[in-house]
């Protein structure tokens, strides 16, 4: 048997009991890692990961006050502090499947149940190290968003009768979805299911059907899954998503209710429930869900002041305007030194004053909000931006409203729902004409830019078109079409000049922006493939 060790690796141990930290260190020391760091809570842990490139994290799920093990993982992944090759092991006294089913995004690599001894830890670490090593090339491809490359590597290993067949199939399936090859992904999952009723294969199949917009099929698959595994919470999440896409908000809310009952500690899930309940006009349920979201999300990296604003709104709409003021106080308490939160607090206060008919106070807080807005105009979420617009219009600050609206539309000119909402706000303020005119003008500006750029491209004036698009992208960084066009024109440039290395990361950045906003965007997939092809050709030429 090959001798193995943690040589060259940096380890972080996170546990709130000092005796445990010491004991764990004793267990891991014999494996000779380069470094062992200890942390007793989320704050220390994140700090440590910021200062060191940690390869192995050993974390207790329950850490008392503050972040729990899952939340630390989420924040670390969110802040990109952990590489694909890093190992995250979570120790837990509770049923691990709760955690697997409860987490929405990131999962640890391994769970260890308490009590455990040194032998078990060593065995698990060894297994994970081997796993990561087997998948090393694939991880590297994924870290540069080379999905097609990752798929090819998976196939290569699968053809060589790999022992981690299922892991490879899981990755391959995910990446097929990422590049939009949904039917191929579905086939992959169906083949697995032929052999064995594996829950994650069913779940992934359901997700693929959702992305294909085959909602009826998605529901069939997901409901089949819950029949056998009634506590699979993630299945309910996706059922809710599917019903929402079908505009069946009542059913969506039902699914989320079940999910939340089984796994209440997820901020994202509570927030989803609140939003859907609100769409359903179930203000009471929305209020409760926002309250829960705020409560369970105190230490989560997904925490947002927007939730407090939304809660205040539900209170105002239920005639509890005074309670709403308490929520604003909570924003100030729960977010320290956060300019965005301050702005949200001001906007929320203004909204409450307006609802009580107190225009004078509303205008005063509005001025505060606008001052804060000027300092960071890009920091607003669309919902808050709409709130602010509303406030400005009711105080007669039409110019300020126009500026906010312009910014909003520039970044989202394709978003029909958003445009509808904006029109509604102008209409409620009795300024329909001005609103429509502004929206049209702004939208036309963007259409013009895109047309101009496309024209330049057709005429072969690549440099000019790139310059135009990049400038536009700076001004409206969230605009999907502009980002895609920018990426496309740079790709043309790459093809023409053969200068690959210089530009390919730039293209990847623009495409990544699109991917973050709209993961299933078809054009994104096409351009990603184009990027891989151009890069691959260059490599074969060089070789």
């Amino acid at each position: 048997m090959a001798i193995w060790s943690l040589k060259g690796k940096k380890v972080l141990i996170i546990d709130d009991f000092q005796e445990m930290r010491v004991m764990l260190r004793k267990m891991i020391e014999p494996l000779a890692p380069d470094l062992i760091k200890l942390a007793q809570n989320g704050i220390e842990a994140i700090e440590c990961m910021e200062e060191n490139k940690i390869d192995v994290v050993f974390c207790d799920y329950n850490l008392g006050k503050g972040k729990d093990g899952q939340q630390i993982l989420e924040e670390a992944k969110h802040l990109e502090l952990l590489a694909y090759s890093s190992i995250y092991i979570m120790a837990t006294a509770e049923n691990t499947s709760d955690m697997v089913m409860g987490a929405i995004e990131y999962l640890p690599d391994e769970y260890i149940s308490k009590p455990f001894n040194r032998t078990v830890i060593h065995a698990r670490l060894k297994k994970q190290l081997e796993k990561k090593e087997n998948l090393n090339e694939i991880s590297q491809a994924l870290s540069v968003n080379n999905y097609a490359g990752a798929i090819q590597l998976c196939d290569k290993l699968l053809n060589n009768k790999a022992s981690n067949r299922l892991d490879l199939l899981k990755i391959k399936g995910e990446q097929l979805s990422n590049i939009g090859e949904y039917e191929k992904a579905a086939d992959l999952y169906e083949d697995i299911i032929e052999e064995r009723d594996i829950p994650w294969a069913y779940l992934s199949l359901g997700k693929v059907r959702y992305f294909q917009q085959n909602y009826d099929e998605a529901i069939e698959v997901l409901e089949g899954l819950i029949k056998e595994n009634s506590s699979n919470v993630t299945a309910y999440d996706w059922l809710a998503k599917t019903y929402e896409a079908m505009n069946e908000f009542g059913k969506a809310q039902e699914m989320l209710n079940i999910g939340v009952a089984k796994s209440p500690k997820s901020l994202l899930r509570q927030r989803n429930l609140a939003e859907v309940a609100y769409k359903n006009n179930d203000i009471d349920a929305a209020q409760k869900a926002y309250e829960h979201a705020i409560q369970v999300g105190q230490h989560s990296c997904y925490k947002k002041a927007d939730d407090y604003n939304a809660l205040a709104k539900t209170l105002v709409e239920s005639g509890k305007a005074d309670e709403a003021f308490n929520v604003v106080e909570k924003i100030n308490k729960d977010f320290k030194n956060n300019a965005n939160a301050e702005m949200v607090a001001a906007i929320t206060t203004g909204m409450i004053h307006t609802s009580k008919g107190d225009q004078t106070s509303a205008e005063k807080t509005l001025q505060d909000a606008l001052n804060l807005f000027k300092q960071n105009p890009q920091g607003l979420s669309t919902d808050i931006a709409l709130e602010l617009t509303d406030l400005c219009l009711s105080s007669g600050k039409d110019d300020e409203a126009a500026e906010i609206t312009r910014n909003l539309i520039r970044n989202n000119h394709d978003d029909k729902k958003l445009i509808e909402k904006t029109k509604e706000i102008y209409s409620a303020a009795g300024k329909s004409d001005a609103g429509n005119a502004l929206i049209e003008k702004t939208t036309n500006e963007i259409v013009d830019i895109n047309n101009k750029g496309a024209h330049l491209l057709k005429e072969g004036k690549l440099e000019e078109s790139i310059e135009l698009f990049m400038k536009a992208a700076r001004g409206m960084p969230d605009n999907i079409v502009v980002n895609l066009n920018t990426a496309y024109s740079i790709l043309m440039q790459m093809q023409k000049t053969g200068k690959i290395k210089k530009y390919s990361s730039r293209v990847a950045n623009y495409l990544e922006r699109v991917h973050k906003i709209d993961p299933s965007n078809k054009k994104y997939h096409e351009l990603m493939e184009m990027l891989q092809q151009i890069s691959a050709k260059a490599e074969t030429k060089a070789a």
Binding site: F17, N95, M101, S113, K114, P115, T119, S163, K262
Partner: protein, 230 residues
């Protein structure tokens, strides 16, 4: 499923068990440290072994308790994954190595390297732990764990060369592989066998579910616990 909480037993159980498990973990690991640094079969170590043994039984009961509560209340979603059976069984045996050594039990593992199967690792660990901890008291000096694939099932057998299972602990199953005679009433068999039954039945594939049997065709007519997983 009700969304308005009456008394939240689930959280009570989870929190209490968390605390107890933390203490247990410290306890068992401290004893482990003592035992693994000394090879002597002296009185002190024998006592420590006994303490460790009882500690493990407490853990088994805790795990069993929480799992039974959750499974029966529809709160447990089996976390099925693929594992190398040999590696898994080896890991399990190593959990009991001190005990095995201290009683001079000759242990053997029969399982092919290329046998991979699907199961909930934590739950099956719990089942095996229960059986081995029981066996430890009754076996003469042998322990044999084996695993084979048989007619679409993974069959894990744990055999000893003790006096065998008493009448009230013989487990059978009907055509649908549902256990017919396990209940809480029988003292000393209640928790362990019931837990094992629930865990086995939680494992399903293509319409078949898992089951357990206890027979007396083990080593030299000793006990044999068999776990069938589809």
């Amino acid at each position: 499923m009700s969304t308005t909480p009456e008394f939240d037993y689930s959280t009570l159980l989870a929190n209490s068990i968390h605390e107890v498990k933390n203490s247990l973990n410290m306890l068992l690991n401290s004893i482990d440290q003592v035992l693994s640094t000394s090879d002597e079969n002296n009185t002190t170590n024998k006592i420590f072994s006994q303490i460790q043994y009882e500690g493990k039984r407490v853990n088994d009961d805790l795990v069993g308790l929480l799992a039974i509560y959750r499974i029966n209340n529809d709160q447990y979603s089996a976390n099925i994954d693929e594992y190398s059976v040999r590696e898994f069984l080896q890991e399990n045996i190593s959990q009991h190595e001190n005990m095995i050594r201290n009683r001079n039990i000759k242990e053997a593992l029969e399982c092919n390297d290329d046998l991979y199967w699907f199961f909930d690792r934590d739950l099956i660990t719990g089942v095996i732990s229960n059986v081995v901890n029981n066996l430890y008291k009754y076996t003469k000096d042998k322990l044999l764990i084996s695993a084979v694939k048989e007619e679409g099932y993974l069959v894990i057998k744990i055999q000893d060369n003790g006096p065998g299972y008493p009448e009230n602990m013989i487990v059978t199953h009907d055509e649908d592989n549902l256990q017919t005679n396990i209940s809480f009433d029988k003292a000393n068999t209640g928790l362990g066998l019931y837990f094992s039954k629930l865990v086995a039945e939680l494992h399903k594939n293509k319409g078949k579910n898992g089951y357990i049997t206890t027979t007396n065709d083990g080593i030299d007519g000793g006990g044999c616990f068999s776990l069938y997983l589809p």
